[in-house]
């Protein structure tokens, strides 16, 4: 019965794995709910700051801020790439990295240099190995990140943009559509572009800036970029949990399939042994 015991051991070990993946699925499901709530909580802020920025693009200030200006030629581009800290979440991170790489390749083929800031352990591990300029990182954000944890990374990029080191800034993250669908997304953060023409604001007007337009716009656009990055991080966490939930569900299902198959093999082996024993006994009795 040594074969039978081997199979039983194998079944037991797969059952343990299945318990783990099932537990991870449950945990991911409950974390996903919380992550979704957080995602919805910042939406009003995101909407409003977006409105303000779009108004601003249509204003006619006497001083054109660097954030709103198109640079004549692009020499260097910056990326902020958001990933999860942990793995076991399906192809989420790798799919994102693939499109980022493609994007980077397009840029570097046309002679541009690349600066990268990463958020999340996986992105940091991945981009460290590549021949790109890795200028900043934030890792171990946990499940409920706070805006101030992102300020550092974002400031590096904004400063680089302000000083003219990079000429545009992109953000790559996973967008949460629903539990089954996560869309990897690359958006251009800087320079800020108007999205649609706005009739109401097309006449000649401008804000009153207090104390002066430069300080106010500095202030506002830093917050804008931060809030977009923060939203990216929060969405990415929701995606991570959703993707992990799906991945773990299919892992549990696969474990179940393997257990069924093994059980069948085990039963057949057991039956074969019994049949053999009976035929031996019958053969022995016949010989006597």
């Amino acid at each position: 019965m040594s074969r039978g015991k081997e199979i039983r051991n194998q079944i037991a070990s797969i059952k343990n794995t299945q318990k783990i993946t099932h537990a991870m699925e449950m945990v991911a499901a409950s974390k996903m709910r919380k992550a979704q709530e957080r995602m919805l909580a910042i939406r009003p802020y995101q909407d409003k700051i977006h409105h303000v920025i779009q108004h601003l693009v249509f204003a006619h200030p006497e001083y054109i801020h660097v954030y709103l200006q198109d640079r004549a030629e692009e020499r260097r581009v910056g990326y902020v790439v958001i990933s999860s800290d942990r793995g076991l979440c399906g192809g989420l991170n790798n799919n994102l990295f693939r499109i980022v790489l493609k994007h980077i390749k397009d840029k570097s083929d046309s002679g541009l240099e690349i600066d990268i800031c990463t958020i999340g352990q996986k992105a940091s591990n991945f981009f460290v190995r590549l021949p790109v300029n890795h200028i900043g990182q934030t890792v171990q954000l946990g499940d409920s990140p706070h805006v101030h944890e992102l300020i550092g990374t974002v400031k590096i990029m904004i400063d680089a943009y302000k000083e003219g080191i990079i000429d545009s800034l992109y953000l790559a993250y996973n967008q949460f559509v629903n539990t089954m669908i996560q869309k990897n997304n690359i958006v251009k953060l800087l320079p800020v572009k108007p999205e649609e023409s706005n009739e109401e604001l097309s006449h000649h007007w401008d804000y009153i800036y207090e104390p002066n337009s430069k300080d106010v716009l500095d202030n506002l656009l830093v917050r804008y970029v931060e809030s977009v990055v923060y939203q990216g991080v929060v969405e990415n966490i929701a995606c991570e949990q959703a993707s992990r939930m799906v991945a773990m569900k299919s892992a549990s299902d696969n474990a179940g399939d393997i257990i069924d198959d093994l059980q069948l093999v085990h039963n057949k082996a057991r039956q074969a042994v019994i049949t053999q024993e009976i035929s031996e006994i019958v053969g022995g009795a016949a010989a006597v």
Binding site: I42, K48, V147, H148, E149, I151, I208, E210, P211, L220
Partner: protein, 141 residues
């Protein structure tokens, strides 16, 4: 019906207030401003203080730690900060993120112990921040 103006007060964590009001008063950096309907467009940072909203002669108060005020003729948007900020703290955070990246680049093998150390460091930093915040509040009152 009296002339009203729509006010939205939002922070990154939630929507704080949204509705039609008669007037709103906010602590702008250059001094408190009162906004009535059809105010000319204004964009200004806010300092820590109280936003007062006037509805039908009644006042509602909201405490904010800073933010940005945008006025359009028919809508006022207040983007409240949640993170306490100070120029030097921003600087320190930026420096830290940079050093982190460099450190990992230089010591690719020590990832595990390093991650732990980093978590501790962030905690310490968070504590420093809350101390700073306490100090500021104590100073204001």
């Amino acid at each position: 019906m009296s002339i009203t103006i729509h006010v939205d007060i939002v922070s990154t964590e939630r929507e704080i207030y949204s509705g039609l009001v008669d007037a709103v008063f906010a602590p702008a950096v250059m001094g408190e401003v009162g906004i009535y309907p059809r105010h000319t467009p204004v964009l200004t940072p806010l300092k820590a203080g109280v936003i007062r909203v006037l509805v039908n002669g009644k006042e509602d108060n909201f405490y904010i730690s800073g933010g940005i005020l945008e006025v359009q003729p028919h809508v006022v948007t207040i983007l409240a900060d949640t993170a306490m900020r100070a120029a030097d703290l921003d600087e320190a955070a930026a420096l830290k993120a940079k050093l982190d990246a460099e450190h990992v680049l230089n010591n690719r093998d020590t990832n595990v112990g390093y991650a732990e150390a980093r978590v501790k460091f962030t905690e310490a930093l968070a504590q420093l921040r809350s101390i700073e915040r306490m100090r500021k509040i104590a100073k204001n009152y």
